[in-house]
Amino acid sequence: MRLFRADLHIHSCLSPCAAIDMSPKAIVEESVKAGMDVIALCDHNSAENVGAAMRAGSRVGLHVLPGLEINSEEEVHILAVFDTEDQALSMQEIVYGRLKGSNRPDVFGDQVVANEFDEVEGFNDRLLIGAVQMELRDLVREIRRLGGLTIASHVDRPSYSILGQLGFIPEDLPLNALEVSRNGSIEDLRRDMPGLEERGIGLVTSSDAHEPGDIGSAVTCFLIETPVVGELAMAFRREQGRRVEFSCGNG
């Protein structure tokens, strides 16, 4: 086993709120520069740029996990992180089936689909900032059915977080982890919500990068065999010697 430096929450130019220079290729280059071993690309309600990022990553030896940051009916953000592009696209299909509206680029921003060579392939017309008309519980179930990790985003922030919107973590919600944003504190969360790790819910911090300079601004290290979803899940549950470390990250 070895330590993998991970940033599991990065947005590309497909997210309306992200910078235009967050192309899949640029994200991979910046992630390598920031010393990452593994990243997850999680655009709002869409996985249309994950394939490009995975291909760009494989050229330089960076593990890119395909993901989405899904906005539930309760307007809670949840990260779905997968191993294969097909899994992410299957989740995207479910999401698109329950997502209404069209984007207004002048109001919310452009949603750029790009390839691994930094070429624009097109623009996504859906209202990606919108809420998927599906309850959190059902979303989590679908993500797990497809083999994905379920991570509640930036729980320390008031907006779009499970604690901000619901105020608590439902007992029967099978989450792999809670994410603390780059300005938040893992220690504070452990103090405020004791017993999480005993319930099998891990903790993670990630950058939620919207600009190139954000990448790696919050890092979580995983002591695992290989950077795949199954191993990450074991690390969150501290099984068979796998574990998560936070002090390794920002050196």
Partner: protein, 115 residues
């Protein structure tokens, strides 16, 4: 009634988007789920919410709302204020709850606006 008038009359503090204070109020809507507001508010509504992030301004632009009122003492994020200034959507704040604020506004004749 203009946004400026209700700001004065109900002691709502203008914290951003001053250039939109002369927008006309057609009615009101109250909600904290953006998807619900987008689907159900009418144009020209005064929108009461606790949500203080930047996307509330996007929703206000999209639905041509008159102004946003943040209740319960909530303050807008800095990027929310910047966007509101840019778009000319006033953001007003009050320490009162949504319930109490709606009661006062309704009593003053600001009613439902159909979506």
């Amino acid at each position: 009634m203009k946004v400026r008038d209700i700001a004065d009359r109900f002691d709502l503090k203008t914290v951003a988007g001053e250039k939109g204070l002369d927008r006309e109020i057609q009615g009101g809507y109250c909600g904290d789920l953006l998807s619900d507001v987008m689907a159900n508010t009418g144009d020209g509504a005064l929108w009461l919410t606790i949500q203080s992030h930047k996307n509330v301004v996007g929703v206000a632009v999209l639905r041509e709302l008159a102004a946003i009122v943040l209740v319960n003492g909530r303050e807008p994020d800095d990027d929310t204020k910047a966007k509101a200034d840019e778009e000319g959507i006033p953001i007003l704040t009050t320490r009162r709850s949504a319930f109490e604020t709606v009661g006062r506004l309704f009593g003053a004749g600001i009613g439902r606006v159909d979506g």
